[in-house]
Symmetry: C2
Subunit: 190 residues, 2 copies
DNA sequence: TGTAAAAGTCATCAACCGTTGACTTGGGCG
DNA sequence: CGCCCAAGTCAACGGTTGATGACTTTTACA
């Protein structure tokens, strides 16, 4: 018993930093800014808690870094505009674990109540979601249409995250998917 | 200097209890279940913090009590069905302080990330919002239509609560209100 | 190989949280 | 008036959080 435990990862600042960022992103998405503790994040990343503060300075700076590091939603803003509703509806009604593109949305809703997180959230939302969305839509009142459709998407994502869809049967979900696609399309139409 | 401070309120269990409930409702709506502390709530109600635990047993029980005490949203579910979109859009775009009917929605979104609050939230949402809404709508797939429209309303309420509307000018807000009314109506149409 | 800096760990701090038990104060009833 | 129970207060608890400084281990270079 010379070496007591596995080293988990070779000493590599960049890799460790990334591991912390990944763990933080996941935790923030699941529990929000306040709910996620640095100790949990550090445990997920197999790292001492003190190292997180050391690498990122403070929890808020880590949060900003997480928000700025991954766009993730831009993949939605490619392809036929007329099929946008269908695409997003499919994505939203997928099983929650596959919603990579919606991590930031989840972070947003779960951290909405934290004053410390509010300002970074606003900025990130605008940069990574709203502005690209409005540019993708184009046409008159693009910002209003993007805002409305974005709010709808966020509302549905929240609802799914909260209710776990225990209250809708299979055909109910199918009906919701159809209707959702239609309404999203109506929201972005000029 | 015999009496050192104002008694604030005559000794009255019912009134004190109600004052705590009001303060809790407001705090939960502003900061969510985790963010609102019993000490803050007690201070708002001009009451010692210990009294809150004494009256309601625990923070979670107080939360449940707040959720169960006021429906508040039923007023939306009265009047012409064809005007529903207009009515809700007006309500949503009002200044945030006047959104009495949406307090529970705010509480819901701000507390979405707290495991302790999740189950009471689901129950309350269903009882006080979704079910009456579906009953009000009627017709085929009433639950799906209620769910979708509810998600849209929640998303818009969240968005407004977060962004403070610093990013939309006056005519932008007017355009958003028009479009919102239209999309809500589309969401509830059979 | 020797060494200095980077990478990671440990112990600890002050602040805040929800909750509890012992205490003091007040008002209504005999 | 005097009592007594309800209403309200105070101080303290164990636990958790974010953050910091001193410490040890590893890596890489001369």
């Amino acid at each position: 018993m010379a070496e007591n435990v596995a080293p988990v990862r070779a000493r590599n600042a960049a890799a460790t930093r990334q591991a912390i960022l990944d763990a933080a992103k996941s935790r923030f998405a699941k529990e929000g800014y306040d709910g996620a503790s640095l100790r949990e994040i550090a445990a997920d990343a197999r790292v001492d808690a003190a190292l997180v503060s050391r690498y990122f300075g403070s929890k808020e700076e880590l949060f900003v870094e997480v928000l700025n590091c991954g766009p993730d939603a831009t993949e939605l803003f490619q392809g036929e505009l007329s099929q946008f509703g269908e695409r997003v509806a499919d994505k939203l009604m997928d099983d929650p674990d596959r919603q990579d593109g919606l991590d930031h949305l989840l972070i947003m809703l779960r951290s909405a109540s934290s004053p410390a997180a509010a300002e970074p959230l606003r900025r990130s939302m605008r940069t990574w979601f709203h502005d690209p969305f409005a540019a993708y839509l184009g046409g008159p009142e693009a910002d209003v249409r993007a805002r409305l459709a974005g709010d709808l998407i966020m509302g549905v994502a929240i609802s799914r995250a909260i209710t776990d869809d225990h209250d809708l049967d299979v055909e109910g979900q199918a009906a919701l998917r159809r209707r959702l696609a239609k309404v999203i399309q109506a929201a972005i139409e000029p």
